[in-house]
Amino acid sequence: MKTFIEEINAYQPDVVGLSGFLTLAFDSMKETIEAFDKEGMRGKFKIMIGGGQIDEAVRVYTGADAFGVNAVAAVNLCKNWLEVVS
């Protein structure tokens, strides 16, 4: 979590992605997003989570803004948030 916060402060991203693809990490995602809240940085970027076992129930559980099950879904989420015209 500390690394996430340091990197976010350094890069000021529009989107932060948390992957639970190879290893399930629903609780870690939840705790990380809660840490963003505590740092007061939650509204500064969108959060997406991804992985083969991620679904809407996990999105709600973790508090993320959106989820995707593959890389293409992640690109489309970013395009949508940043209003990128293809």
Binding site: L22, T23, L24, A25, F26, D27, S28, G52, Q53, I54, D55, A57, V58, V60, Y61, V69, N70, A71, V72
Partner: protein, 417 residues
């Protein structure tokens, strides 16, 4: 360690449980839906210890694992010791391809696979020419002395004498001693795993599988090229992938068959990693992934074994292809419940199915949600003649509340015998 022997009283429930598994494989309806217990780091949560302790404390992990089997009374269990007590062995081997609790990740975090380029693209030919030599020099790089080993195929005639001089080098001897010490630890780990099998057998519970197999594509991808790089190789180095797989194929197949026959247990679990819908096109799957894995499956079937493929990730676009197997000979375990439902439709008359409860339900749901999920899969698959062995996507997720596991096994009995 104390070895329990199976009593005649325990043999009957053991046989009954095992027959349920075999009935499913043979596409016969058993007297009730089998429920399987597979778990890794969830056992730490269940036993109230850290994941690190689970990795390093053989005795404690054994006690917790046996206790879980006795509480949930599954029809079969995985060997709960196998993937949870490897810490000392991994340290002894200097394994760099994976991190584990307390070793690169936190004490309560699970394994972390490191997707790296362990073999460069321009090293394919070296690997294809001599995979054993490449393995010794590159994978065992922590054993530095092995870099001095001779080229073994040249050690005939007088070279059989002169060539072994390298073994006198202090660095070679040090690496050999270190490898033997590591093997002693692995032997200890293996003995505990065998002890677990004996213990649950004594209580009337079979293991679902003993022998673990990979597959040729993942063997090249996982720990040589890495998942990201092999996806590029699908376009840039097609022939090299095929040649590498061809090389490892024989080694893997023969070793797996020998190990399974030695174990006396017919089910061979085949893992899958880099085949997912998102990782390769259907055409690439049919060219690179499916032919070698099917070839293995057929070889196992010919050897009297039962392949049990764990189809990880989303396999929606693979279904028609992987349905091409002989009826009543294998088990398909799907990570995603939607894949189970589709598989039941298009190959339910060919393969036994395993799985049915998604990780999201287990981790984020309440016991009543788990109960509903079991009821749903029973109605959609088991009650419609599907030969389903209930399990989660890849066993019980590490973060699952214990009451949800109780709900899962309770619902299995409530809705399907």
């Amino acid at each position: 360690m104390t070895t329990l022997e199976q009593t005649p009283e325990a043999k009957t429930p053991y046989d009954v449980r095992w027959q349920r598994i075999m009935d499913c494989v043979a596409l016969k309806q058993p007297d009730r839906m089998p429920a399987i217990l597979y778990a890794t780091f969830w056992l730490a949560k269940y036993g109230g210890i850290t994941c690190k302790e689970l990795m390093y404390n053989y005795e404690k992990t054994m006690e917790i694992s046996v206790r879980a089997v006795l509480e949930f009374e599954p029809d079969a269990a995985s060997n709960l010791i196998t993937f949870t007590t490897m810490g000392k062995s991994m340290e002894a081997m200097g394994l760099k391809t994976i991190r584990w609790p307390g070793h690169g990740v936190g004490e309560n975090q699970p394994y972390q696979y490191l997707d790296r380029e362990y073999m460069k693209a321009d090293e394919y030919d070296e690997f294809i020419f001599d995979p054993t030599g490449y393995y010794i020099r590159k994978f065992l790089e922590a054993f530095e002395g092995f870099a001095h080993l001779p080229a073994f195929p040249t050690l005939s005639g007088l070279r059989a004498i002169t060539g072994i001089r390298a073994f006198a080098k202090p660095e070679v001897r040090a690496s050999l001693l270190r490898l033997m010490d590591a093997a002693q630890e692995v032997e200890k780990w293996g003995s505990h795993a065998a002890e677990f099998e004996k213990s649950i057998k004594a209580h009337g519970y079979p293991l679902i599988a003993v022998t673990l197999a990979g597959n040729p594509y993942d063997a090249v991808a996982d720990y040589w090229r890495g998942g990201v790089n092999i996806m590029k190789d699908l376009f840039r180095h097609k022939e090299k992938i095929l040649a590498s797989m061809d090389k490892v194929d024989g080694y893997m197949r023969d070793q797996i068959i020998a190990a399974a026959k030695a174990s006396g247990h017919p089910i061979v679990m085949i893992t899958t990693h880099w085949h997912a819908d998102a990782f390769m096109s259907p055409k690439q799957f049919e060219t690179f992934y499916w032919p070698p894995i099917r070839k293995h499956m057929m070889a196992f079937i010919d050897a009297g074994l039962i392949p049990m493929v764990l189809w990880e990730h989303d396999c929606t676009r693979r279904m028609e292809t992987i349905a091409d197997v002989p009826a009543g000979k294998c088990i398909y375990w799907f990570e995603r419940t939607e894949n189970i439902l589709r598989a039941h439709e298009i190959m339910g008359d060919k393969v036994a199915l395993r799985g049915g409860i998604d990780a999201s339900t287990m981790v984020t749901g309440r016991p009543e949600d788990v109960d509903s999920a079991v009821k749903s899969i029973v109605e959609k698959v088991w009650a419609k003649g599907g030969k389903l062995m209930l399990d989660c996507g890849i066993g019980i997720p590490d973060e699952t509340p214990v009451e949800n596991v109780r709900a899962m096994f309770g619902a299995a009995r409530k809705y399907a015998g």
